[in-house]
Subunit: 309 residues, 2 copies
């Protein structure tokens, strides 16, 4: 195999795959493709190969399987169990920064035990998307000395399984978390204090996601702030954070470079991908996103943040 | 007079000067120097001469007059009327982005009619700080063809004198407004839409202040986003927005350059000054701020926002 034919460094992604019913001020969609792993895998797939670990029920539409396959997402780690697929039902009011959950049905996730195919165990880049922290830990135990592991979590697990969330944070290289959840987990109103506290828990990189206000990254000796791309309309914020983290990890895998400078670029690429996700419901916008559009918005991000000495 | 001795372009500032009683999670202060014109004049004075137009009562402490004089703030336009000085009494809870007003006593402001000293009428740079929009309009009528006028406002006037606020906006070159107030005035949740709508009302520059999330600037063909400087602790957010706008206008006057590139620098200098204001109560931090500290944080702002192509 020539170098040209070598697959790019793949990202192993574990997380929820589900069917979402969502209402926003711009409309309602029912049982559309959703879940943290769906958004993050699709985002990462713009940069790198993806190995998806997750579970769906026997009602999972074949078209979604085709969608992932067409994007070069390896589904050897995707289990299909008898019973219904994971469902999430939520809505947003005019403040699109705040998702309100109406119902979460774990369904097949309740009995899910991730089993990594042998070839997955040597994945150098891993993204533990939002999912039960015990499942994140189980995946972490099955991979052999990965180069860079990113983990995400949410308030549902911080409330219900705080100790396990802290255990995950302790064993990964990077954490992505949204601002309200960082404040909650660290019991402080200051995001700067929260970022530093999270670093002390183990990871060398902490990215706090602030929705329309962008993201901030804390590393041992540095701090970086990236805005969100300015949009006139956000139609559906679902999956923005997952897209961000998946895009970020995918870019790191693609470049195989975890220097401070490259981490900053990865954060901006993550923001750019998230800005496309929220333009439409579900994965509709990402499904037809062109690589050129990513580069265009990245370059716009440089333009709108630049100022002279 | 040699060029070296020429005074730098002065900024004319009109706005409230008052005595504040403030409670934050970090403490309580009573009857301290406050008001939009106090913060903005002090901020501008780091860059340019300031001509202050406002009113105080006969109970206004002489030490505050000395404070302004020591900072090279021209007080020929400051009236002293019989009766008590303007008072504001407010508090902040753990969310320091939101000020809660307990009491506002306009006092001498109720009968205040700004009268510009003759030499003030040719001020090239003007900042109409937060105050009754009718007083802002009165000052605007008394200046001769200024080069650049910046106006600020707040929800109190948007609720009570919306038409006059819109009249001010129509006749100035730049508007600074906070995010909640921009959303309220433009009846939209999208800050991008609000920024564009405000531009359509007349000004060529609109800066939306987002507190801990920084500021965004809209110009006809451009958009710029500046973060706030990352602070572990914000002890008292009062006056941050006034400091920002005063610092911004002062920098523009100092450089006498209203190009897009220089406007961006002015926004960042405004953010830097505001980051110092909120470190302590009242004007305590600005009172001992050194020019070198401003340059240091400006350079930090470049470092924390930079990312490669």
């Amino acid at each position: 195999m020539t170098e040209r034919e070598m697959p790019r460094k793949p990202v192993l992604i574990v997380g929820s795959i589900g069917l979402d019913t969502i209402e926003t001020p711009f409309g309602v969609v029912q049982e559309v493709l959703g879940g943290a792993a769906s958004y993050s895998s699709t985002a990462a797939s713009f940069f790198s190969g993806v190995r998806l670990v997750g579970v769906v029920g026997d009602d999972f539409p074949a078209e979604h399987v085709t969608f992932f396959k067409d994007r070069n997402v390896d589904l050897a780690g995707l289990q299909c169990l008898p019973g219904p697929t994971f469902r999430w039902n939520g809505y947003y009011e005019y403040d699109m920064n705040q998702a309100h959950t109406l119902a979460t049905h774990l369904n097949v996730f309740e009995s899910f035990q991730p089993q990594l195919p042998t070839e997955y165990r040597d994945s150098p880049y891993v993204f533990l998307a939002n999912i039960d922290p015990e499942l994140q830990l189980s995946v972490l135990e099955q991979v052999n000395d990965p180069k860079f592991v990113v983990a995400d979590t949410m308030n549902f697990w911080i409330n219900g399984k705080r100790d396990q969330v802290l255990e995950v944070i302790k064993h990964v290289h990077a954490v992505t978390i949204n601002d309200a959840e960082a404040r909650q987990l660290c019991e402080t109103t200051s995001l700067v204090v929260a970022g530093r506290k999270l670093l002390e828990m183990g990871p060398r990189v902490v990215v706090i996601k602030k929705g329309e206000h962008g993201a901030v990254m804390f590393t041992d000796n540095d701090y970086f702030v990236a805005p969100s791309f300015p949009l006139e309309e956000v139609r559906d914020p679902t999956g923005a954070g997952d897209t961000f983290a998946g895009g970020m990890t995918g870019y790191l895998a693609f470049t195989d470079d975890i220097s401070e400078e490259n981490l900053r670029k990865a954060v901006v690429y993550g923001s750019v991908l998230a800005s496309y996700t929220v333009e439409e419901f579900s994965l509709n916008r990402l499904a037809r996103l062109e690589p050129g559009e990513i580069l265009l918005r990245y370059s716009e991000m440089r333009r709108i943040t630049a100022f002279a000495e």
